[in-house]
Amino acid sequence: MNLKTRLNILKRKYRGSKMAPAFNAIHTFLYLPNETTRGGTHIKAADDLKRTMNTVIMAMVPCLIFGMFNAGYQHYLAVGNIQAVSGGFLSAEFWTLDNFMVGFWKILPLVIVSYGVGLAIEFLFAVIKKHEVEEGYLVTGMLVPLIVPVDIPLWMLAVAVAFGVVIGKEVFGGTGMNILNPALTIRAFLFFAYPTWMSGDKVWVHGAVDRDQAIAAGQNLDAISGETILGSLAQGKEMAYSTAEMFLGFIPGSVGETSTLLILLGGLFLIFTKIGSWRIMLSSVLGAIVMGLIFNQVTASGWITDTSKFYGLMSAPYWEHLIIGGFAFGTVFMATDPVTASQTNKGKWIYGFLVGFISILIRVFNPAYPEGVMLAILLMNVFAPTIDHYVVQANVKKRMKRLKAKVA
């Protein structure tokens, strides 16, 4: 008897009982269910929720693997064991087993905690509320480890995941009902609850915080500077990284958001498979460019000089904003979340544009919250239904006018 039949028997045995959703979920996760829809109107399509979610995860896997290598690379680079990457994307200094193992053992626990806690809560709620376990957490669970600093303590992540899944999703009725993107809710919770682990110049490189504490304890070591580009720009310092490094992702940052190249590939994959909305991605980039150009014009015309604390970020060329920080990752994987984004096509343009526009606005004007893209997407999540409402109403009005003209 193979596993599938065994699970099917278990499923039948527990049908109608309290634990039924849990067994159903395991069965449908591993296999295509045996049941077929009978009667009524139904659409035959190859993509269901499970496949949609898997496609997004596939798009994120390169970022995850790159993040593992990068965690080790940044660590050894900061410690001084290796030299900076000299060649292109395939530099041998970067893709070493040493680098990978450091990142692997740091990031794998993040993935396990994220999925473990999140799915446990999903199963719990499904059993209590007697609905089926939904696949919504599959993507969230993958996003979470990619958007946190590599050294985040695991218990903090667990608390944040529990908070995000319950308050961000389950109170609204589960997958598909949530107003805010659950992954970003989790990150926002971490950001405001434990700022010492989520921002500043020490958290982005593995080992920097430990090293700092060792120095404070009196050991004679050099401090590791894990400063991100946004951080040093905000202070008006010279950029320590070349454009190529920023684009390819050899820079400190959250686990999976550094490589704009791989995010771009993931984005193209999502567009090609028609899972992610190209309208949102494109308009968000447009919004960021417009805001960046406005700031560049302001500094170019001399309204703001380098005595201002905003000068550093404002004078950064507009295209640089697209490849530093979490902007690219947020635009491709978070803003396009079909549940929390606008649903109408026109609405998507407005929504995406404002996401990009506000990201750069927050990034520049509030150096305390350099990750403007997180706050911008959460803000626009709240406004998405309003945007849709007005888009639909405008269409209704237009058609009413046409109708009246016809009747008259």
Binding site: P153, W155, F189, W197
Partner: protein
């Protein structure tokens, strides 16, 4: 309860649970969000409102037959304002530090919807004894939520209760902090107070079938 008739005791007990001014009527939220970062401030606020609403309800109830209905709001405001000023001065005289923490929110008790609401809805139409009970009951229902929210916010946000370091010292790294625990800074921000109140409402509504609205 020998002291109170069944109807009278309902006046006190109802607002504590099934008709709580904060969780069911969703009144008085502003102060519940603003001052609950510390348990001490929550308790003082709860006691202040208890005083103002208890006495205020009696005063309004005694005057209910001579207040012209066209200017009743002004009369109510004068009564609350007078009582709030008493509270404010007492706090300034005997607990100056605390009065600074509460700052403008003591003065804003005047605009607390619960107080005007009880004056309008109850004291204007009932005798002084029943109005007193109603006032005490509603203020206690308000205070109870404040104290619960204040308890969790101070415990999780600062690791203290009434100023005592119950979870250990975060700087010396004793107690829970020795194993890596850290205070949750989000708890000290007002949005988290709203979420805590929301969770209380959620738990209360899901446990009490009578409160579940069908859509």
């Amino acid at each position: 309860m020998g002291l109170l008739s069944k109807k009278d005791s309902k006046l006190i007990l109802d607002p504590l649970a099934d008709n709580n001014p904060i969780t069911i009527q969703v009144l008085g939220i502003c102060s519940a969000l603003a001052i609950t970062a510390e348990l001490k401030a929550s308790i003082v606020m709860a006691v202040s409102v208890l005083f103002v609403l208890g006495i205020g309800n009696v005063v309004i109830s005694l005057m209910r037959n001579i207040i012209p209905s066209k200017i009743r709001i002004i009369v109510q405001l004068v009564v609350v304002a007078a009582l709030v000023i008493i509270v404010d001065l007492v706090l300034k005289a005997f607990a100056y530090e605390l009065s600074k923490t509460l700052s403008v929110f003591v003065g804003l008790i005047i605009t607390n919807c619960i107080i005007m609401g009880r004056f309008e809805a109850f004291a204007l139409g009932n005798g002084p004894w029943r109005s007193f009970l109603d006032g005490i009951g509603n203020a206690a229902g308000y205070g109870a939520i404040l104290i619960v929210v204040g308890f969790f916010r101070e415990l999780l946000g600062s690791g203290t209760l009434l100023g005592f370091k119950v979870l250990g010292d975060p700087i010396e790294k004793t107690g829970l902090y020795a194993i890596g625990y850290e205070n949750n800074g989000f708890m000290l921000l007002s949005p988290m107070a709203l979420i805590v109140v929301g969770i209380i409402i959620w738990v209360q509504r899901s446990r009490n079938k009578a409160l579940i609205e069908d859509h």
